[in-house]
């Protein structure tokens, strides 16, 4: 899967979650990478997200249809993705590995397939 990494963007409707394995969140900092993730029935695009250990990144979510949930249990990350809003999660990965994520709000026939992975490398 391709990685849609783009620059910092100011959004009008911004839901911000402060989640990170390291550090506090004040908003996406200058020069921090923002990765846009689009949810819809029944997938995430992209569904493979490659990160570097210790490098801050902001995951920015939107949904094209109904409310979704994004959860990475192994990294302690979750957020609602609400139609018409942008949700952001800032993380600083502190461990290397492959970590599955799921939609944790039931969204229909295909919900169980709405998965992906975050891959953190050195």
């Amino acid at each position: 899967m391709t990685l849609h990494a783009r620059g910092l963007k100011i959004v009008s409707l911004l839901t911000v979650l402060c989640i990170g394995t390291i550090g506090a969140y004040v908003g996406a900092q200058p020069n921090e990478q923002v990765i846009k993730i689009v949810a819809k029935k029944f997938d995430y695009t992209p569904n493979v997200i490659k990160l570097k250990k210790g490098v801050p990144v902001v995951l920015e979510f939107t949904t094209l249809d109904i409310i979704m949930g994004f959860k990475v249990p192994d990294l302690g990350i979750r957020t609602d993705i609400v139609p018409g809003k942008v949700s952001q999660v800032r993380i600083v990965p502190d461990k290397v590995g492959t970590f599955p994520f799921v939609c944790d709000i039931f969204c229909g026939n295909g919900h169980e397939d709405m998965t992906g992975t975050i891959i953190v490398s050195e």
Binding site: K71, C103, I105, F106, N109
Partner: protein
């Protein structure tokens, strides 16, 4: 009637106090002998997903539930009651189709000889409309009932699509438990695991820990649930949790492969991994003897 005790392998698992597991053998002619006093038994069926279509995982999707009903009806001694622990139907976005599936399911299970049947929803039945259609057919999604000295609590962790029980239901649970003696014999029926079985596959209840905390002061609590389409036995403190097999397709063991994809149909062993269970309650000791049974007697 054969004494099937002679043909069964009883296995008491250390650490799972209060539960005896019995290997259900295909071909067993009958159910265990029942003790005359102080015991009763019920049957748990789960995850029939009526309306599912997927010939690679179950080419008999329209026949499996009916075969299970026939199998239960063929038991020499009928259970005191039957419980369906959710996902009676497979989900659909179409509200009229959802009701059609619920009606068809209801009609199929109406053939059960035992008429004391308890239902609860799974997320496939209830999460897209907050349980509205389910309630039209089967009534409340959380409730209690008592049977021969055991207090049964049905918890709904699916009508909220976030897989939450919710504060209102938790308060209801707390009030119910407050009315019981500490040593009451309690059995909980629910759909999803109340504990974090494998959140990486969404096998959890978001606020299940709150329900477990409320149950924890009671020494005699056992939970039976569905959702994961396989047997699983787990302890949270002294509380045992037992998941049931499905009646449509089995799922892999938690974390055993990258995705929780259904296990393909085995033409050499049709209906493998599917089944239902007999649970015999020994009331005084709050002990439950679980016997797994196949859809087809082979």
């Amino acid at each position: 009637m054969e004494n099937t005790f002679d043909r069964r392998d009883f296995l008491k698992l250390a650490g799972l106090g209060g539960v005896v597991f019995v290997s259900g053998l295909a071909g067993c002619s009958d159910m265990p002998q029942r003790s005359a006093a102080g015991e009763f038994y019920f049957v748990q069926l789960s995850d029939s997903h009526w309306g599912f279509k997927g010939p690679k995982v179950n080419p008999d999707a329209e026949g499996t539930l009916k075969k299970a009903v026939a199998a239960v009806n063929s038991l020499a001694q009928q259970p005191d009651f039957i419980v369906f622990t959710g996902d009676l139907t497979h989900t659909t976005d179409d509200p009229s189709e959802r009701r059609k599936r619920l009606a068809e399911f209801r009609d199929i299970v109406s053939a059960l000889k035992v008429k004391n049947v308890h239902f609860m929803p799974g997320e496939h039945d209830a999460s897209l409309d907050h349980g509205e259609a389910f309630q039209e057919f089967f009534g409340k999604t959380h409730y209690t009932f008592d049977h021969k000295g055991v207090h049964f609590i049905v918890l709904d962790n699916v009508s909220d699509p976030t897989a939450s029980i919710g504060e209102a239901q938790l308060q209801w649970l707390a009030a119910d438990l407050n009315g019981l003696s500490k040593d009451a014999k309690i059995v909980v029926f629910t759909h999803r695991p109340l504990f974090d079985l494998y959140p990486q596959w969404d096998w959890a209840t978001r606020d299940g820990d709150k329900a477990i905390a409320l149950l924890m002061p009671h020494p005699n609590v056992t939970v039976f649930y569905g959702h994961i389409h396989q047997e699983n036995h787990h302890m949270t403190g002294h509380i045992a949790h037992h998941s049931a097999k499905s009646l449509i397709f089995p799922l892999p063991a938690p974390g055993s492969q990258p995705k929780r994809a259904p296990i393909p149909w085995d033409t050499a062993q049709p209906y493998k991994g599917l089944g239902y269970r007999d649970v015999e309650a020994e009331i005084e000791r709050a002990e439950y003897r679980i016997t797994e049974l196949p859809v087809l007697k082979g």
